[in-house]
């Protein structure tokens, strides 16, 4: 691959919404320290859909938690819309990987989606409207009164997405949301994310360890090295905006992009390969069906 086939993105003339600058996170405790991420700098423009791909253990969750204001970075800053993030900002919603653990099992679907809206002090009628719209948008019009554990994994993750959507955030952070659902559901949910993004104009930062998924979903893909983590590449995805599982994935350009990302990650493996941490086994998959 020659360098000119894959352009570097133009960052000057964008309306930057989220800015991550020199973020480092070192976990300390139990007598040892773990440098989960070393030095991450990137920015996300308003309305963009950016994917972050990296091997597991690369610090993706750590990064997302720093961005969400759930963790304090050891060094560096996260800025959202000009405001430094020090605690969870109102205009941000997170969808976690562990859908089974991120919904309140003692609340119904309706109550799960509604609770954050109550915290926002929205009036009852408005809350109901948002709940209904959000659940309809993810294709769950009928399950308001069910409990999360009565639903399949894919449906539970839809509820978590509906909750995020109803919250009307400026930025939606998603941490490997589809890593634990079956392949067919996963394809459906990927398309759901793209269509929600089109419809709502929300900014999405989507974390995954699946190369194909990142290329299929993103306008840009940030490739992370394995731990200690830096951004290896910031790759614009020049696929047409209209994407479909069948057409897009079988296209030549898609294959090239996927190949390129895969190569980058292999490179990272060999660079760090001399001394791999126990968690840094890059299990990034090149094909979407392995989890």
């Amino acid at each position: 691959m020659s360098g000119d086939t894959f352009a570097t993105p133009q960052t000057q003339d964008r309306d930057v919404l989220l800015d991550v600058r020199g973020v480092q996170k070192i976990y300390t405790g139990h007598g040892r320290t773990v440098e989960a991420i070393r030095d991450l700098t990137f920015s996300v423009g308003r309305g963009e859909l950016v994917c972050i791909v990296g091997p597991s253990g690369a610090g993706k969750t750590t990064l997302l938690k720093c961005i969400a204001g759930l963790l304090e970075p050891t060094a560096g800053t996260v800025t959202l819309d000009g405001q430094r993030v020090t605690r969870p900002p109102q205009s941000m919603a997170v969808v976690f990987q562990e859908y089974g653990r991120s919904l309140y099992p003692w609340k119904t679907v309706q109550q799960n989606v509604e609770l954050p809206l109550k915290q926002k002090k929205l009036p009852k009628a408005r809350r109901q409207e948002l709940v209904n719209e959000a659940l309809a948008a993810v294709g769950l019009g009928e399950v308001h009164d069910a409990y999360p554990w009565q639903l399949s994994g894919g449906m539970q993750q839809r509820v978590a997405i509906a909750r995020a959507v109803a919250y009307q955030p400026q930025v939606l952070l998603m941490d490997e949301p589809f890593a634990a659902v079956d392949a067919q559901t996963r394809a459906d949910l990927e398309d759901l994310i793209r269509s929600l993004w089109h419809k709502l104009g929300v900014t999405i930062l989507f974390v995954t360890h699946d190369i194909e998924e990142s290329v299929y979903l993103g306008q840009r893909v940030l490739v992370l090295s394995s731990s200690p983590t830096v951004v290896m590449e910031d790759l614009p995805i020049d696929l047409p905006d209209e994407r479909s599982q069948l057409e897009t994935r079988s296209g030549r350009r898609f294959a090239e992009l996927r190949h390129h990302v895969y190569e980058q990650i292999q490179l990272a493996k060999h660079r760090k390969g001399s001394e791999p941490g126990p968690d840094a086994t890059p299990d990034v998959v090149a094909h979407g069906n392995a989890v």
């Binding site: 938690k65 969870p88 997170v94 653990r101 991120s102 099992p105 915290q119 554990w149 009565q150 919250y167």
Partner: protein, 261 residues
Amino acid sequence: MNGILRGGRGLFFALALPVVLVVAWWFGSANSTNFFFPSLSSILETFGRTWFAERMRADVLPSVTRLLIGYAGAVVLGVALGVVLGANRTLRRITEPVLEFFRAIPPPVLIPVLFLFAGIGNTAKVIVIVLGALWPILLNTVEGVRAVDEVLSDTSRCYRVTGWARLRHLVLPAASPQIVAGMRQALSISIILMVISEMFASSNGLGFTIIQFQRSFAIPEMWSGIILLGLLGFVLSLLFQLFERRSLRWYQGLRRSQRGE
């Protein structure tokens, strides 16, 4: 039709052994000349006479009232302290051995101690129940609060479910299975303490009355008292099961779905 059949069979299984036992007791004791084991018919005959008149108000009611107040106090105190300790790691580490020690003290020994302070009145008896029943609730609450799921906790923070809302929507429900388990232990401790404190020193109450019967060799009355205590224990446990089933329906459903049923 099938349902009726099944219901009928269930009823049969539920009643068969109890009926057999009662019938056996009835006839086995019918001509009893053993002073200590009077006939069941005489016990039952005494039962109504003994308990449904004056004593219901004078003895049963005070006992049950003290029991319920003491138990409620233990629940409120145990959950409140448990939430505070469960949320603060350092505090928890500091207090853990002390609390384990208190839990290990056989609660009835508190009775002579408490009566030093407060005499033999209602207050002392209620406090005995509070102090005896507190520990399983407290320690279970600590455990439950400590174990609130990290992901759910992060979710709550990110949607700004904080402060009281966090307590109400996250911490208490998440800890409720453990809290309820502690409450179940505490209930039987409360009943023991109610009875013992009245047997130890009192002028009324179930425990007091039963011991009086025994001392005055009013044997059928004593038996009727034992049966009444048994019924009380049974009814309270039944009510508790009802409460448990209602309040933890989500938990039982969750467990079932996790086991893949």
